[in-house]
């Protein structure tokens, strides 16, 4: 390696995880060894220990066992950071223990990683732990995932074994939010496909692990759009200089640009971007600089400088995913210290929306979290935060909670967005739809009347409500087909299709059900405004939620269809097998079993699917639409 070239490398931070005995330490030891990053004396010490234990070969994993307690138990307890360098890059490895009680450590290691390696033991296939790690990688939004199928030597380099793991894990990862996934068959012990291509895998035409690490493109993962500058400290060495020191979290900024300070909202232009090495014209994400403004405006630590026309959310109530990291359980009465960027505020966890079983990915009702548990919460802070969603911006979407008494870091949080519960809207007297303050409707656009004139019929929202298995979807499909065949502008929204995408983040607790309906209602309204007859089928068990959707629309547009059916009949039909699961306790909050259904008080149409045929009920709804002058 040319020593002088060394100064011009790029940096990749990655994390490694695997179950106990998946060969993670061996793999890291192998990478360090093959890239000549192990010193002779370290190697000699490990060789000595291996010989003493009668291993027969040098156990590279021994290079990594740091603490005395770990050496005694032969496992890794804490996150360890390792470093190695090749001609192209410097690498920082966050080596995280795979043990299930160490979710905390894995989240810690993942928080700074650009790439994650999951090891899977070829002999055991895809285990629960591999799935948990995948979920955490998706939760922490690590942009790149490498699945290293290890110990291929122990399955005789069988392509079938490898293909099965690729298929199983590939299928599982569809459920996750992972953009880039690469599979590699390796033997960490023997070195196959780690740094050099293996002769044992003629059927594998991909790259070696090291090649992927050296070449994965990470510059594009940064957010260079949204300029965010949390002020760390104010520098005023003398009366003539007042600068705001901090690190550009995202975006770029140049001299002369107009900025706004949050929370004051005061604006000014950038006069200088100061560094020890001379003033800059432009500063980009990741740079630690000092900004000097043209005007004397009041800015202090915890404030944020942003562009006037690209603002973060400003709110003191928001939803977040929380990973609990402390032995002491989450206590809703505690005012935790919340640290977000350079800002510290008091925060209460107001509501636990659900807990995620990280092994099955099921959402379950919960009243709090213990160590290593993860779920969704609503938080309220003493002062507003200036944030973006974690998905958009890791730097302004992440926070930690600190216990006010022990001062321990008890939780890591990833902000999803402002609190959005329909309960806030429907359970207060002043029910009104939430409106984003910054949205301007396009003037001069095509109005609902224009659409209706062209279509030759009016738009409407036909809302089918009733128990699961009552026949809502069957009825709706029949109605949509009939209207479609008549040449009407018609579309369908149903529980199953919105829950895959639009509402894919929601569970089935009361609050999430309400939010589900609120979103569907808003979506239906947009489609109605553009002339559609929107047929919606949702259990929508709560009257307040249905009334909320009705309230979004003008009189006569909302057609509530109560799809009535005896619960006993629904249970017998049980087309999706859900009642059986609910009765077995496998599904919670299931309408009709352990969650109530509130019957409509004055629906426009009532149909009884246990007494009438599909044709009959479709005909009755169709007649109602005609009677109302909609079609």
């Amino acid at each position: 390696m040319d020593a002088l070239d060394y100064a011009n490398k790029s940096l990749l931070r990655f994390t490694t995880s695997g179950s106990v005995d998946d060969g993670k330490s061996t793999l890291i030891g192998r990478l360090l060894y093959e890239t000549n990053c192990i010193y002779e004396d370290q190697y000699a010490a490990v060789a000595k220990t291996s010989a003493k234990r009668g291993d027969g070969r040098v156990d590279l994993a021994l290079l990594l066992d740091g603490l005395a307690a770990e050496r005694e138990q032969g496992i890794t307890i804490d996150v360890a950071y390792r470093y190695f360098t090749t001609a192209k890059r410097k690498f920082i490895i966050a080596d995280t223990p795979g043990h299930e009680q160490y979710t905390r450590n894995m989240v810690t290691g993942a928080s700074t990683a650009d790439l994650a390696i999951i090891l899977i033991d070829a002999r055991h296939g895809v285990m629960t732990q591999s799935k948990r790690h995948g979920f955490l990688i998706s939760l922490l939004q690590i942009p790149h995932l490498v699945v290293a199928v290890n110990k291929m030597d122990l399955v005789g380099w069988d392509q079938g074994v490898y293909d099965a793991i690729v298929r199983d894990y590939g299928e599982f990862s569809q459920k996750l939010d992972i953009q880039d996934i690469t599979f590699i068959p390796i033997s960490a012990l023997e070195g196959d496909n780690v740094t050099t291509r293996s002769a044992n895998t003629p059927w594998y035409d991909g790259q070696t692990l090291l090649h992927v690490l050296e070449n994965v493109h990470v510059a594009a993962d940064r957010n260079l759009v949204d300029f965010r500058f949390p002020v760390q400290t104010v520098l005023r060495p003398d009366l003539d200089f007042r600068g705001f020191a901090g690190t550009v979290v995202s975006g770029t900024v140049s001299v002369g640009e107009e900025l706004a300070a949050l929370p004051s909202g005061r604006t000014s232009r950038i006069r200088r971007i100061v560094t020890f090495d001379g003033d800059l014209e432009t500063a980009v994400a990741g740079q630690a600089v000092t900004l000097v403004l043209q005007d004397e405006i009041d800015v202090s630590r915890g404030d944020m400088l942003v562009r006037r026309h690209n603002l973060p959310h400003v709110a003191n109530e928001f939803d977040a995913m929380l990973c609990w990291m402390d032995e002491e359980r989450l206590d809703p009465r505690t005012a935790y210290v919340l640290k977000h960027t350079t800002h510290k505020v008091k925060a209460h966890v107001r509501d636990v929306t659900y807990r995620i079983d990280v092994d099955t990915l099921h959402r379950e009702a919960s009243d709090g979290f213990g160590l290593n548990e993860i779920g969704r919460v609503s938080l309220k802070t003493s002062r507003p935060l200036y944030f973006d969603s974690y998905r958009r911006n890791r730097g302004t979407g992440s926070f930690i909670l600190i216990d006010p008494v022990s001062n321990r870091t008890v939780a890591a949080g990833m902000i999803r967005g402002r609190t959005s519960s329909v309960h806030e809207v429907t359970r207060t007297r002043h029910a009104e739809p939430r409106r984003s303050t910054n949205v301007q409707w396009e003037a001069g656009a095509i109005g609902t009347a224009d659409w209706e004139a062209r279509n030759g019929h009016k738009g409407a929202v036909v809302w089918c409500t009733g128990y699961s298995g009552a026949g809502k979807s069957t009825v709706a499909r029949g109605l949509v087909r009939r209207l479609f065949d008549e040449g009407r502008q018609v579309m369908m929204l149903d529980g199953d299709n919105v829950r895959h995408g639009l509402c894919g983040d929601l569970g089935f607790g009361d609050q999430d059900r309400s939010e589900n309906i609120r979103r569907v209602g808003e979506a239906a309204k947009l489609f109605w405004q553009q002339g559609n007859i929107v047929v919606c089928t949702f259990i929508s068990p709560f009257r307040a939620d249905r009334d909320f959707v009705r309230s979004l629309l003008p009189e006569g547009v909302f057609v509530e269809v109560y799809v009535k059916c005896d619960l006993g009949v629904c249970r017998r039909r049980d087309p999706k097998g859900l009642y059986a699961k609910a009765e077995a306790g496998q599904i919670k909050d299931f309408t009709g079993i352990d969650s109530p259904y509130e019957e409509p008080e004055a629906p426009e149409v009532v149909i009884e699917t246990d007494l009438e045929t599909v044709e009959q009920v479709v005909q009755r709804i169709h007649r109602h639409l005609a009677d109302q002058g909609i079609i």
Binding site: A3, Y6, A7, N8, K9, Y39, E40, L64, D65, G66, L67, A69, R71, I77, A80, Y81, R82, Y83, T85, R89, K90, R104, V107, T108, S111, T112, A219, R222, L224, Q232, L235, R236, P237, F241, G243, A245, G246, T247, T252, V274, T275, F276, D277, T282, V284, G286, Q287, A288, T290, M325, V337, K339, H340, R394, S398, F399, I400, I402, N407, T409
Partner: protein, 308 residues
């Protein structure tokens, strides 16, 4: 056109600056531990950068064992004055007077009294609640698990099993009444990074790092300057004569106390040469420091006791 990518050295530098600013913003009374070595030299430069154009933001604390090389004392005083930093020198006079020495106490005990005890007393005396250290995670196995912000109890002790998780770049600097924090801005740097940075930034160093012909004696496999033989081992000199002295071209890879720091044979007289040597090296830099070798977990033990 603006470049949106930074070299790894630049990224490490920015991370360290961010950490230093967090400490100054959140702690009451910070101090930077200054050992006169190359890592301290880099730390000082980073602090200058972090608070430019402000003055040097905190005092430098040198915990002196009395066993440092004369070149180190000379450099220390000249260099700290040149950057306008306030230098505090603290010594454990009680144990220095008692003649603490590795040959008498053993290296562990000697370090504990002159360095660890000396450090803890100095922190308590001045009421420092945050102390920057130049330790790196690549130096030693137990340090690989150290945090940027390492919280210590009232005895300065490290509890590796009860460390705060450190996420994103959000550092928890909250402290209880009797707690303090050690902060390691160079956590993610390697020895090679440090040398490259010194080269890039033209940072001045103690001349001991560079090779020159020195009168030396080999003592149990360690190369020792002849003029310091008595300091290394007060009893050994009697048995050695002028015939044991060899003029060798040698330098020091890391600088500690005279009794525990050996030289390595080298002809390298500039930073470029050192970098070549480090790249080619297959020996870790602390290997010529005797303190880590006494037992398999000796560094962890020292850290638990309050060593930084």
């Amino acid at each position: 056109m603006t470049s949106y990518t930074m070299t790894h050295l630049k990224q490490l530098e920015q991370e360290s600056i961010h950490v230093m600013r967090e400490v100054v913003a959140e702690s009451r009374n910070p101090v930077m531990l200054y050992s006169v070595g190359k890592d301290s030299a880099v730390m000082v430069r980073l602090a200058q950068k972090a608070f430019f154009p402000g003055r040097f933001p905190f005092p430098l604390l040198h915990v002196d064992t009395g066993y440092k090389f004369p070149e180190m004392y000379e450099f220390r005083d000249r260099f700290t004055a040149s950057i306008g930093a306030r230098l505090i020198v603290e010594r454990n006079e009680e144990w220095i007077a008692k003649g603490a020495h590795p040959t008498v106490l053993g290296t562990d005990k000697c370090c504990q009294m002159l360095k660890t005890r000396g450090l803890l007393d100095a922190l308590a005396k001045h009421g420092f609640d945050a102390a920057f250290g130049g330790a790196r995670r690549d130096e030693e196995k137990s340090r690989a698990k150290e945090r940027f912000f390492s919280v210590r109890d009232e005895f300065g002790q490290w509890d590796p099993k009860n460390q705060r998780p450190e996420l994103w770049s959000l550092y928890n600097a909250e402290l209880g009444d009797r707690e303090s924090v050690r902060v390691f801005p160079l956590s993610n740097w390697t020895e090679l990074d440090v040398w490259q940075y010194i080269r890039l930034e033209k940072i001045p160093l103690v001349p001991l790092y560079f090779a020159q012909p020195r009168r030396t004696v080999e003592l149990g496999g360690i190369i020792v300057p002849a003029e310091h033989l008595e300091t290394v081992d007060p009893h050994v000199k009697l048995g050695l004569g002028e015939s044991d002295v060899t003029v060798r071209s040698c330098r020091f890879r890391s600088l500690g106390c005279i009794p525990c720091t050996g030289a390595v044979e080298s002809t390298v007289t500039d930073v470029d040469g050192i970098i070549d040597e480090v790249v080619a090296a297959r020996r870790s830099e602390r290997e010529n420091r005797l303190i880590d070798l006494t037992s398999d977990s000796s560094m962890e033990q020292k850290k638990r006791e309050g060593y930084f």
